[in-house]
Subunit: 110 residues, 2 copies
């Protein structure tokens, strides 16, 4: 089944539609973070997060920096190509604010 | 695992990240279409397309119109909420054009 859609658009949608990929990019737009920081921010398993980060590294969207400290420190950050997702995420956020309904958050009792 | 992300953003990313959902919305931005037209444009099975269209109808993003003709004609189109995806898709298209590499299309021999 050949599709009449633009292959670049199709491949991009396919990439960002992978479970959690969008949220990981959205999270990293806040700046470089360590694995555990990303893992704490997103309801994702460590195994899957590691897999997604490798894919994003392979796509040139995320870069991984190792700091020669003891213990060693590893930081993930968006490349230029990754930061170029900002306008996409901003538009998604506008749509979400306007149209997406969510159950009211339980107010934590003091 | 609670996430510190905005629930509306998380739910929206989760919705549009479902396999083929983004491409279906992108396709319907071209205007109302019949099932077979969407099916021909996207490399998706009829069963899955039908499932995704039902989900999108449930989310209020797609509307389904039945024309009382013989044989009956059914058309799918984006609601206002669905059309509001246009700026998101335009930003994704810009990113795709600039950053996504695809294998060169085989030139059809004359």
């Amino acid at each position: 089944m050949k599709s009449s859609l633009c292959p670049k658009m199709e491949k991009t949608l396919e990439m960002i539609s992978k479970r959690w990929t969008g949220l990981i990019i959205f999270q990293l737009l806040k700046g470089p973070q360590r694995f555990c920081e990303i893992e704490n921010a997103i309801p994702i398993s460590g195994r899957l997060l590691s897999e997604r980060l490798k894919e994003l590294e392979h796509e040139g969207i995320v870069s991984r920096k190792v700091f020669p400290e003891v213990p060693v420190r590893v930081e993930y950050s968006l490349t230029e190509k990754g930061k170029a997702f900002r306008p996409i995420m901003e538009e998604i956020q506008k749509w979400a604010e306007k149209y997406m309904e969510v159950d009211p958050q339980p107010v934590s009792k003091r």
